[in-house]
Amino acid sequence: MTEARGGTPAVSLSGARLSYGDRTLWDGLDLDVQPGEFVAVLGPNGSGKTSLMRVLLGQQKLSAGTVRVAGAAPGRGNRHIGYIPQQRALDPTVAVRGRDLVGLGYDGHRWGLGIGGMRERRQRVDAALAAVGATAYADRPVGLLSGGEQQRLRVAQALVGDPEVLLCDEPLLSLDLAHQRAVSTLIDARRRDAGSAVLFVTHEINPVLPLVDRVLYLVDGRFRIGPPEQVMTSETLSELYGTEIAVVRVRGQIHIVGAHSDLCEDGAHHTEQLAER
């Protein structure tokens, strides 16, 4: 599958600039993401991580440069994009079950009632639910499920459309460690088995560190792209932040010391992870 899609990058940005008024979020951004590649997008709040997602989805125009997603201009190829948003409690009064949410990922963009394709739809949705281990609660109202369960359904919803590109916007936020691992493993399996390119926006690299091929680190209009061992160093981050930063590796995890607090949005997170050991 990777071969078939190979050759052209799944996501391609060249000379990309995004600015609002006189404020430039990033400029001169060149990034080619190959099929099957896992790229983590890191950086403090307001560095333009979510804006990058919006550009790739065609919801935000670049100020300069070009961008291609899944072989098309952004906004044109959205059917080949799987999107996993932040975990946000779904309204408990909304009358949909897990399987409906996943079903919308399969054919929610099509016009008509879709009565003809019901059988295939059911098979595909069942398979997607089974793949994320959500079969047991697929018929319960989504609003009554836990955050971790909802996020597994989000993964199934994104994967059921057989995406070439997976855009994940903080998908692990507010999940416990077990669910963080489960969700990131599912995403990793997808890019290995089907060759989907993954762009993974996060403020916390540790849960996905073993999966990441390259890091795009954005700070205040500056950025670095490269493998984590090159980008996540005291030297590089000190340069990016323009202040003294120490990167400490503890048992395969990366901990960043010395940056101001918005480097890591939930400070308690680190302590929790350390306390568990």
């Binding site: 009358a95 990922g105 016009w111 008509g112 855009l167």
Partner: protein, 281 residues
Amino acid sequence: MDKLFDVELTLKLLELPFVVTALVVAAVLGLLAGVLGPLIVSRNMAFSVHGTAELALTGGAAALLLGWDIGNGALAGAIVAALVLGLLSRRSSDYDSVIGVVLAFGLGLGVLMLWLYKGRSSNKFGLLTGQIVGQDFASVALLSGCAIVVLGLLAALYRPLLFASVDPEVAKARGIPVTGLAVVFAVMVGAATALGVRTVGSLLVLALMVTPAAAACRVTASPLKATLLAVLFAEISAVGGIVLSLAPGTPVSAFVTAISFLIYLVCWVVSRTRRTSTAPA
């Protein structure tokens, strides 16, 4: 009061042609309200339906004053209102207050025009509380035409509309024109509301557009089952309300609202008991 449940009189009245017409109108209305209702509920649009209904009243009052057809006036008022409200983002924080502002102004305008109108006062009362007996062939034709257009549009747009209603963020990411659909849906709701205004009146249109669907969403989370149940509940309320109102000669809306509220209560109790019994110990 002893006329309230006079079965014999009710049966006799049911043979009258205008009553049969009224029942057909109610059945079409129940179908429309039932299929649109679950989407209205998942989009949290109850208040905007209420606002649309009030402005349908304004349109109807204007038509009454100018000597136009009330049905067309109500339809025009509701569609203008729906366009205005549909263009507002339902996520924006001032959504509810804007509806309140527009609704109050429209209603005030409607009251002024009703006061200026010097014709039969039952025409005025009918706009507020519904008037099933006045349905002539033209209004049945208007209703059926609107119903066919709305049902056809709904069938064509159903999946993207459901996606945009329950999961707008991901729907937008998948390339669905969420804002455009909101406007189209608001106009569909506006048309259905305007037709409801003629039967149950602008004050009580919520009883048909929202209550049956809210009841259905209490007892099932399946969009298909919720739609079927909402249609069933809306039909029972609309048709049943008319049949019960025949003998005592009360306004239709009194019974329509009573029945739909009763159904809602039953569904609420069912959902409560179900939730307590399945809750983990």
